[in-house]
Point group: C3
Amino acid sequence: MTGFVKNAWYVAGWSREIDAELRRVTLLNEHVVMFRKSDGSVVALEDRCPHRLLPLSKGKRIGDTVQCGYHGLTFDCSGKCVRVPGQTNLPASAYVQAYPIVEKHDIVWIWMGDPAKADPETVFDMPEFSDPNWAAHQGDALHLKSNYLNVAENLVDPAHVSFVHPTTLGSSASENVPVHVRTEGEAIVAWRWIRDAEPVGFFKAFGGFAGNVDRWHYYYLYTPCTAVIDFGSIDTEKHCAEEDRDQGVRIFALHFMTPVTETHTIDRWMHLRNTAQDDPEAADRMDAMFRKAFAEDQEILEAVQQEELRPAKRRPIRIAIDKGPLVYRKRINDLLELERTEDLASDPSPAFVYHD
Amino acid sequence: MTGFVKNAWYVAGWSREIDAELRRVTLLNEHVVMFRKSDGSVVALEDRCPHRLLPLSKGKRIGDTVQCGYHGLTFDCSGKCVRVPGQTNLPASAYVQAYPIVEKHDIVWIWMGDPAKADPETVFDMPEFSDPNWAAHQGDALHLKSNYLNVAENLVDPAHVSFVHPTTLGSSASENVPVHVRTEGEAIVAWRWIRDAEPVGFFKAFGGFAGNVDRWHYYYLYTPCTAVIDFGSIDTEKHCAEEDRDQGVRIFALHFMTPVTETHTIDRWMHLRNTAQDDPEAADRMDAMFRKAFAEDQEILEAVQQEELRPAKRRPIRIAIDKGPLVYRKRINDLLELERTEDLASDPSPAFVYHD
Amino acid sequence: MTGFVKNAWYVAGWSREIDAELRRVTLLNEHVVMFRKSDGSVVALEDRCPHRLLPLSKGKRIGDTVQCGYHGLTFDCSGKCVRVPGQTNLPASAYVQAYPIVEKHDIVWIWMGDPAKADPETVFDMPEFSDPNWAAHQGDALHLKSNYLNVAENLVDPAHVSFVHPTTLGSSASENVPVHVRTEGEAIVAWRWIRDAEPVGFFKAFGGFAGNVDRWHYYYLYTPCTAVIDFGSIDTEKHCAEEDRDQGVRIFALHFMTPVTETHTIDRWMHLRNTAQDDPEAADRMDAMFRKAFAEDQEILEAVQQEELRPAKRRPIRIAIDKGPLVYRKRINDLLELERTEDLASDPSPAFVYHD
């Protein structure tokens, strides 16, 4: 098992999932209790009383504080203990951890690492969220019995589409079309164009195309757990350039992965579209197609996870289409190593490493 | 995990639970086969044939012996092998362990430790069992997915009552009433009086009080696994002294904890009352109220156990109300240490410990 | 846990269980994908793609090749990779293991060890399979939650019959009849005759005997996992000699044990009979009696397995009737030791072992 990158924003839920009730949420193998306080903002505290370890989510709210259900220790929204029944002093060690929260575009983000490093400016965003030409729609919270790395690697891997989704997102005609990979700052981008081909299931349903199309897949994977898949189709005769994809029917499928445990990941997915923006039924039909496709992924990813838990007879092989996943895995390992120790040098100058 | 104190009497069952049939009982993570022999006394043997390890409870009784269901090895009530089919010699190593048993007040007690240390005189007793002014009634065998230490500590902890049982045994009015703790020989006693208050649910139902009452809780915890809770109410105007509690409506709730495994405890509870002694319906109504209250404990104790099994981020805190549990935990640890080694000195004089 | 002998033929299934579909079979804690190719022969491959570890059984057949369901890597029946989509080179390490298969008498045998040692001539056979005086009938694939060693030892153990199967295969009259044991090449043989006794349930049903019979049990156990039980009855007055058992009503019950995991064994059983050869109802009635008897074994074997997984308090004892199991256990341990290392000397002459 690899471990989790802690200094990052993770999705704790769609905004609609969090209300005034105490609710347990599990992320990175830790239990958090969440609720909206009276001003509507979201609070996240360690879900374990420091006294007898009862989850605070088993207790109750008293105004904007949380009272433990066993002996009544009470904590404010910063995690500070404000009452210990039976005594008047409030020891400093009577606290629970509080987690930074940002709510944006109807999504609740949480920071599980060092609070001092939590910068709200680095929460994921994209201009289409605020662009009236685009319609956004939240889909499901899909529970996958798989490590988040397997889920993420699947989302920077256009090659699997021909084999896993032959009737929805891909077709066997594109099995051998090569995959390109580059990095763009924090994103790893894997993409390919399938030129002059029959529209696939999805764009038969939504494009209204008469003849052949050029179809693209751009997979953007942001470390550690956000993926954007830009895919679309356009009449082959328009000879679309890479930068003009907006002229076609274009969809962004967003995946926010929340590692729950080492073998359980929630994939919250949503989509943005530049077509049928005012038609809520279009969103529902897209949901239905995505659900079918993601159930195909689920079967693969959960079977892979089961195998990974078994003894290895030899090292797995890597092939040409794995460039995106390999860069991703390296980035994750670098981040984990960075978090494994605490570097106290402001400008670290390792003593024994020279590159001539 | 802490382990179990072996040299102690534990409740193996209510008398009504054991009859002529072979019955597997699990205590301290060991399997025991129990039955009543022809003279009505209870026998307890190691539930594992020394040959192929088949549980003897899968075999059958032949008179007052037990025959293994696999190859017919037969054991008498002392655990000695009296038959090996296919051969005439009976090797000395062909035996199963036999456990001392005492049956008293319709309760079957078992000794899982060194039989030479088992003294029937030390089985739990109290004068009210034999007093005609008192009515005794056996309740349930409540299975708790929790370590026995958590269950026991809950039973020397009057402070939780206000928060866990606000509608049955306690009320929020008493949240801050201080808890007193003392030791009385083998018992740890934690108690508090709530003076001049409205009767709580239980005594609304059973006391018939018109005005305010003085209410008491005395928790007696006998190491390792017996708890007696003396609680009652009396008219505030009577100015009841501590030693005159018999003049009020007084109930003893007894809890006999049987550790099954490290995370499973049976809490057999019963009650004695000095009111409505001849009214069996009163016993049933008390059972119903206890069941409600103990289900409240169960939810707490099982959630606490789940948390204890997870990694600790830091040491739990202890507070003023924890005096009783702390003394109990220390006593258990001392007993475990005593059993961990075998002290061969009759008057142990440690060589290197001096206290000036 | 003892481990598995790998260089041996194991039953992977009745022939009727394997068809053109990809089917996962688990043996010796390894997953294998099996199918019949277009010429009707059976193929067995490691059920794990060397790329992302997806089980090949989740993929699909393309002619006589298997295509992985994740990225389309394709393997031929020898396990060689013949296609990697997205690239033209086929690295040598892109392979899956292929397992030798022999199909004989409607049974599929597999070799999980070193393929160079797999000799089809050593697959189990017996002349009665091809003898028109005998009728063969395949029974069930009985799943036992027990280690194969416990199952096998039960099959070289005539003594348990009196206690486990008192109403079907045995009777209490024979509890003390001694068991004989010898080895015959690869077989361990345990047997006993019960002379001049009432027929047991099985031969009441099938023998049509009027008076007393001589009854025999011969248990042949072939290391590691094949057992033949030769049992039958004959009129006592015929004074049957050991070698004339064919003159009586004679049944062979065959057990092919397939270790699935350390605690799960499939017992595929079948029978051959020299009576009622043309009566299919006789086979069905025998199945019904065997199912009853083997369910009795199942309860014992699974209870024993549960006990074996618990801590041992002392060494189990062995008694006179255990000779067959003891020889079997020794043979298994010798084979495991032989496989544990790789002996490179063609004629190993250990340097320091002298027997004068």
